[in-house]
Subunit: 159 residues, 2 copies
């Protein structure tokens, strides 16, 4: 991945990442995890949905205030079964941090940019994420072992 | 942790967490990880320091703009040796997400609040973190297996 562009990343990727959008946490029981984060930090559920495609039931808990385009979240993930990505993660590692999601202003442009710089994609094209967002996962091997999601929140896409 | 207060967390913990301050990523080589995140996302190093107490060399890469009191970061962590917390993490799990840090307006008050709600602390009192912040770690067992850090950034403490 070392190339000349790496010496001046700002010039090539201005404002690519807007913020940390969420941390994804794998858990055995969504209800137990929601109660824990609610009790300890006062976090409230602002989105609760099942994503059959990803094999998870998930809850979004708002950390910072603001519109969906500016907020950040704890995303709790309960697998729909053992033979799902999160189910296999739990079997292998137990509960804990599963991935990190960064908000981007333009997902298609961001994917094109990172592929051009040597990243491998898990999702070749944007797909549906939480709360109406468009998302795509990047391969952890290029990001220090971190499963990384790029998120274009709904409010950003609609403007 | 189930108690009556859990039914009205907002009333008891108004604005406790300000935002996701950073994700901590364990890596074998700080230089390699800095180059990767710089190349792929255009992230730049805004802080580089050695924390002997925690046994790490670490780099803070700014994700979102703003003052230290409002920004968020990727924190890359390279262990000073195998017999350190991050060194043991790498031996056990390999490179990847190590912890998440949330910004709080008042660390002492936040620690008192979470202890009162049943959380166990790794750090009984605030200690020095990156870029002049005061920090403390909470035990992952109470947070769905997630090593969790509370951060009072320097700019917040000084106001």
């Amino acid at each position: 991945m070392a190339d000349e562009a790496a010496n001046e990343p700002d010039a090539a990727l201005p404002g690519m990442l807007l913020r940390i959008d969420h941390v994804g946490i794998a858990c055995h029981s969504l209800e137990t995890a929601i109660e824990r984060y609610g009790t300890l930090f006062g976090l409230r559920v602002v989105g609760l949905e099942t994503n059959e495609e990803q094999g998870v039931r998930e809850a979004m808990l708002a950390v910072s205030a603001g519109s969906p385009a500016g907020a950040s979240y704890v995303q709790l993930l309960e697998p729909l079964g053992p033979d799902t990505p999160v189910g296999r993660f739990l079997a292998r590692r137990g509960e804990g941090l599963h991935h990190v999601g960064y908000a981007v202003p333009d997902l298609a442009a961001a994917l094109e940019a990172v592929v051009g710089r040597g990243a491998r994609l898990i999702d070749q094209r944007p797909r549906h994420g939480s709360m109406g967002a468009s998302i795509a996962f990047l391969h952890p091997a290029d990001l220090g072992g971190v499963l990384t999601e790029l998120v274009q929140p709904r409010d950003v896409r609609e403007t």
